[in-house]
């Protein structure tokens, strides 16, 4: 089970702030593909993924128990 978190524009697109995904293992790239297919207009090309609160690379592996956050372009300050 992987926890997924959505913020800002992506929370609106997904219609939720958090959910779980029943998978044992997948790559960041596969997770982004899943999100794009699940939520039309997700815009995965402009989204980074943080795994356990650190930015992850597309080829990194996500495992059951990890917390993943979809990070759209930030705009703090």
């Amino acid at each position: 089970m992987i926890t997924l978190k959505y913020f800002a524009r992506l929370r609106d697109v997904a219609g939720k702030g958090e959910e779980t995904l029943d998978r044992e293992e997948l790559t960041v790239s596969e997770l982004l593909d899943w999100a794009e297919q699940t939520y039309p207009g997700f815009g995965a090309d402009n989204v980074q993924v943080a795994v356990n609160e650190d930015y992850a690379l597309k080829e990194d592996t996500i495992r059951s128990g990890d917390v993943c956050a979809f990070i759209p372009p930030v705009s703090g300050g």
Binding site: K5, F7, A8, R9, D12, G43, N46, A50, E53, D54, Y55, A69, I71, P72, P73, V74, S75, G76, G77
Partner: protein, 146 residues
């Protein structure tokens, strides 16, 4: 207060200045980012900020560590407010002390640049006739241009 924190209440600048001040500090720079009413001719009514709080605080602390490495002797405190902010409210404060002023100025500017790059905080602009999450994917609101 914590030296690197996300807060929901109005920011009290002085407590971050006080945190970085110590006997070897000869200079303190304080930057505040404030809510601006007009952006590219579009009037903002207010802003709404959201953060991935634990990661945002962690990233701000990492920026502080980068600054201490680049400018030895600096002491840093950073706070960013989330929730609804009105015009002129302080969204972010960065306080930096150093033995001499040059490092305090340079390190402070580095901090705001890095915050805008890596800290998971998002701003939504609310206008009279709409609203939009702001991000680097758009240079400025598409509002009114169909």
């Amino acid at each position: 207060m914590k030296p690197f924190e996300i807060v929901e209440e109005p920011i009290d600048v002085k407590q971050y200045m006080d945190y970085v001040l110590h006997p070897s500090a000869g200079a303190v720079t304080v930057f505040t980012g404030n809510v601006r009413e007009w952006t590219h001719g579009v009037r903002t009514l207010y802003l709404s900020y959201e953060a991935y709080v634990p990661m945002a605080e962690k990233k701000m602390a990492e920026i502080g560590a980068e600054m201490e490495e680049k400018w030895p002797g600096v002491r840093v405190a950073i706070a960013h407010r989330i929730g609804e902010l009105q015009i002129s409210d302080i969204a972010v404060v960065i306080a930096v002390s150093s033995p001499h002023r040059k490092a305090a100025y340079e390190a402070n500017e580095y901090a705001i640049d890095r915050i805008k790059e890596v800290v998971p905080i998002w701003k939504k602009e609310i206008w009279e006739d709409g609203e939009e999450w702001i991000g680097a994917q758009k240079k400025y609101p598409s509002k009114g241009v169909e």
